[in-house]
Subunit: 87 residues, 6 copies
């Protein structure tokens, strides 16, 4: 299907997201954190810039609260994908 | 159905969103980023203005965190559309 | 049913939302943007005021990011209503 | 069941929310706006104070965008309750 | 299961949340408000401090809008738990 | 599956999230608070820094409201995982 995803020159040709399925909730949590960071990199690909921002947001309560909220949204999708690791 | 969508003069007549279905989670992630940017353009169609704003938000931790949260919300819908690529 | 919806004097008697169903995802996206704007008008019905605010938020990265997040939430509901236009 | 809802002295004994079911999506939208306003009143019951705040938020783009996002979250629940008014 | 919930010394040993099920949508709304306030107390258990903050947020439009958005997120879960009080 | 979760050096090798299933809604609420805090620690692992930030956000209404919203998003996923503790 010719969706915007295919015609947008994907910044990284590497396959970093083969699946949403993980063996455990904890891996799902780490995948959520990984996807959250990937989404940040779509707006700021320069890792050095991102590192330079860390001292700021990592000592700002508001930012840290927002980081958790963003992780929660990514995790919600991954948990649903894995049927909440119920069985 | 005569919903507000049809009577609103769609800014771009081009078909940019034929489907929410993608082959892989990574394409789904890229589609989410693409839809997030499209939604920004409904409020600011001028790409030059958007480019001028980039140095600002791309070096602001709060904005980058929010970008990830927005991508997460778009991705949640696309992932559900694709039944989380579970096949 | 006598819910607050019926006893609240609906600002506009016009029928602007006959259905959440659209033929395509792109129409669903436009309906989401339309509903997002309608919700703004429930708090500020004066279109001239809204127009006067545009230069401000349309050149503010934070606002534009938030606009996309709001559209994403409206779109999530419309996409579910249309079973993600899967068939 | 003795949940916090029953032992919390409900601010208004009136029955204002008999059901989430509405006949049309538009009524569902109005119910969402009504519930959003009710939630504000749980934090600020004084309607005069709320009226005094209107000129401020109704001319502030950021607040208006947030109002739409909040309405979207209430609407998502009401739409699901009504099975998206599909039939 | 030895999840963080059990090994974290629960701030209040009292059983305040026996169930998410309520008889009516309005009780569900009140439970949502109750849970939202409980979540605040996990970060600030001192009720006197919370009371001292009220005059501030209760006269701030942005805070009141955010309060409604938070209640909407709690309510969404409670409504789903109660199958939207459909029958 | 070689997802970013596995190739990212997990900050803590300890198993802190064996399951999303809890016996009661209240334990689910505490797990949500625990996961929210864990997500904060992915951005700021230094507990002393986190403690130093507490006096600030714990007396700031905006932050406390946001804390509740974040907990609500984590709780939504946990409640779904536990089928809302319906039986």
């Amino acid at each position: 299907a010719d969706s915007p995803a295919t015609d947008m020159n994907a910044p990284e040709a590497e396959v970093w997201l083969p699946t949403l399925l993980t063996d455990t909730p904890q891996q799902g949590f780490e995948l959520a954190v990984g996807m959250a960071r990937r989404a940040v990199k779509t707006a700021q690909p320069d890792v050095e810039v991102l590192k330079s921002l860390r001292p700021g947001y990592a000592t700002d309560a508001g930012s840290l609260i927002d980081v958790s909220g963003v992780a929660a949204t990514w995790f919600a999708t991954i948990a649903a994908a894995n049927d909440y690791w119920r069985e």
